[in-house]
């Protein structure tokens, strides 16, 4: 379980995070939903220790973030974040070098599934291909948790469909997946838990199936309620 409690961060005289609390359970797909600038990405970066925060606590599987904990959690940022001069093969080798729980067989499998060319230079990849490689790098590690920042933004339709397949596969099974998106419509039947962020605050946090069962509302319906107000 990833627990975020009362996370606060100020940046340029604005409360980017204003007491954010939620949990993302193992074996479930949790989605942080919000407009641009709502603080979704900042939450993921704070969990990974990539941005400082003023106060609050973060626990990953019960432990505070530490180098050892970083082996248990994979972050798939909104861009590939690898040097453009590297080749696809070299990027995989780099990950394998640095992560003990790298799964080479899975990496090969995913490479084949997404039809990535190991000899291609990263700088020359299209956005869609870049996003696929990004997933390969993140999902080829045997981690308990996977964080994904806007896995669908700026990507062509065919790539989106392939990426969506990841969420219906064993790749996310038994792991805790926490992702962010600002376009929930195409994701809404894939996620278990929805957490709505607005101006640095959690405004709704619910189980999607229970919401449908109890109130007959889709995630998009709730989204309209939240942002119309």
């Amino acid at each position: 379980m990833i627990e975020v409690q009362e996370l606060r961060k100020r940046y340029r005289r604005r409360d980017v995070l204003d007491g954010v609390s939620f949990t993302a359970d193992k074996g479930r797909i949790t989605c942080l939903i919000g407009m641009n600038g709502a603080g979704k990405s900042t939450v993921l970066k704070a969990i990974m220790g990539l941005v400082p925060y003023r106060s609050g606590t973060i626990r990953i599987g019960g432990e505070p973030p530490s180098p050892a904990v970083m082996e248990k959690i994979a972050f798939i940022p909104d861009r590939l974040m690898m040097p453009g001069g590297m080749r696809v093969r070299e990027a995989l080798a780099w990950m394998q070098e640095h992560y003990a729980r790298w799964n080479p067989a899975r990496a090969e499998e995913l490479l084949a599934f997404f039809r990535l060319d190991p000899a291609a230079r990263i700088a020359q990849l299209s956005r869609g291909t870049e996003a696929k490689l990004n997933l390969v790098l993140g999902l080829s590690r045997d981690t308990d948790y996977v964080l994904m920042d806007e896995p669908f933004s700026g990507i062509d339709m065919l790539s989106r469909e392939q990426i969506a397949d990841v969420f219906t596969s064993e790749l996310v099974e038994r792991r805790g997946v926490l992702l962010t998106t600002h376009e929930i419509a195409e994701m809404e039947r894939l996620i278990d838990q929805a957490v709505f962020l607005d101006q640095g605050r959690v405004v709704r946090d619910f189980d999607c199936e229970r919401m449908r069962e109890d109130e007959g509302k889709s995630v998009v319906d709730v989204m309209r309620e939240v942002y119309r107000a």
């Binding site: 340029r12 220790g49 990539l50 941005v51 400082p52 180098p67 974040m81 640095h98």
Partner: protein, 276 residues
């Protein structure tokens, strides 16, 4: 430890073309300088020897040290260029990881290792670059000497001594001081300077906007602390009436203080405050 070695290797790999370019340029330009100068002096010597018709040989011989002394600019140019590139790469080795929308620093800071590893790997890589070029310089001197001996007839060669050779070029003199204590001092000051700049960069990367100002102030303060006692070194007469040993102690203490605080602050900010 494994992360450290792999990161050092990666940093070397990323800089390999620049390093090879600098090494090649140094090798070629210096050999060319020695060859050209030797050629020129040789023809002059031929003329004068012909005019003097072999009267006073002793004034008409060529030595390698003399050749080096006469190559100053062309010989020093690749060294100065290498220094410039390496100095620019001190901030470059950090900032390149933030460059672009797809910045590598995300991956580096998320690695399952202590962040200090990243810091030390970057310092190690820079030192490796410096000493690789220095080693090349030291190794190319005998080669240049050999070229000289091959070009100049035995009878016209005046002897040179290794210890004199380095002294002939002003830049070499600074880079490869004969006194091991000077050598240690120069390079220790160099490392200190690099670490202060590292910390300044980390301050800027942590606080951004205002961080620029903090970083500048930080560098100024460090420079003052280290530089102020220096002119007093080696003098018996100073305004405060301090003994030389006291001045040395003060200078050393100030430098060590700056060093320790640079490392402490840099690592702390890297751990807690740095931002992608």
């Amino acid at each position: 430890m494994m992360h450290y070695l792999k990161l050092v290797r990666m940093e070397v790999h990323r800089f390999r073309y620049v390093l090879a370019g600098l090494a090649g340029l140094t090798l070629v330009l210096q050999l060319l300088a020695v060859w050209l100068t030797t050629n020129q002096r040789l023809s002059e010597l031929r003329e004068s020897n012909f005019v003097d018709s072999g009267a006073q040989f002793s004034h008409s011989k060529l030595s390698f040290t003399f050749i080096l002394y006469n190559t100053q600019f062309m010989y020093a140019l690749p060294i100065l260029l290498s220094i410039l590139v390496l100095v620019l790469y001190v901030p470059g080795i950090w900032y390149r990881d933030w460059l672009g929308r797809s910045s590598f620093i995300y991956r580096l800071l998320a690695l399952p290792m202590r962040r200090a590893t990243l810091y030390w790997s970057k310092l190690t890589a820079l030192l490796l670059f410096v000493f690789a070029l220095l080693g090349l310089q030291a190794a190319s001197l005998p080669l240049q000497w050999w070229i000289f001996r091959a070009m100049v007839p035995q009878a016209w060669q005046a002897p040179s001594y290794l210890s004199d050779i380095i002294g002939q070029n002003k830049v070499l003199q600074v880079l490869l001081p004969a006194n091991p204590l000077d050598f240690a001092l120069y390079y220790a000051l160099g490392v200190l300077g690099v670490l202060v700049v590292f910390t300044a960069i980390i301050i800027e990367r942590s606080y951004r906007g205002w961080g620029v100002l903090y970083a500048i102030l930080y560098v100024l303060a460090c420079t003052l602390l280290v530089v102020v006692p220096l002119p007093l070194l080696g003098t018996n007469h100073n305004a405060m009436g301090l003994y030389p040993i006291e001045v040395v102690t003060i200078a050393l203490t100030a430098a060590l203080l700056v060093l320790a605080s640079a490392i402490w602050l840099g690592l702390r900010l890297l751990r807690r405050s740095i931002s992608v």
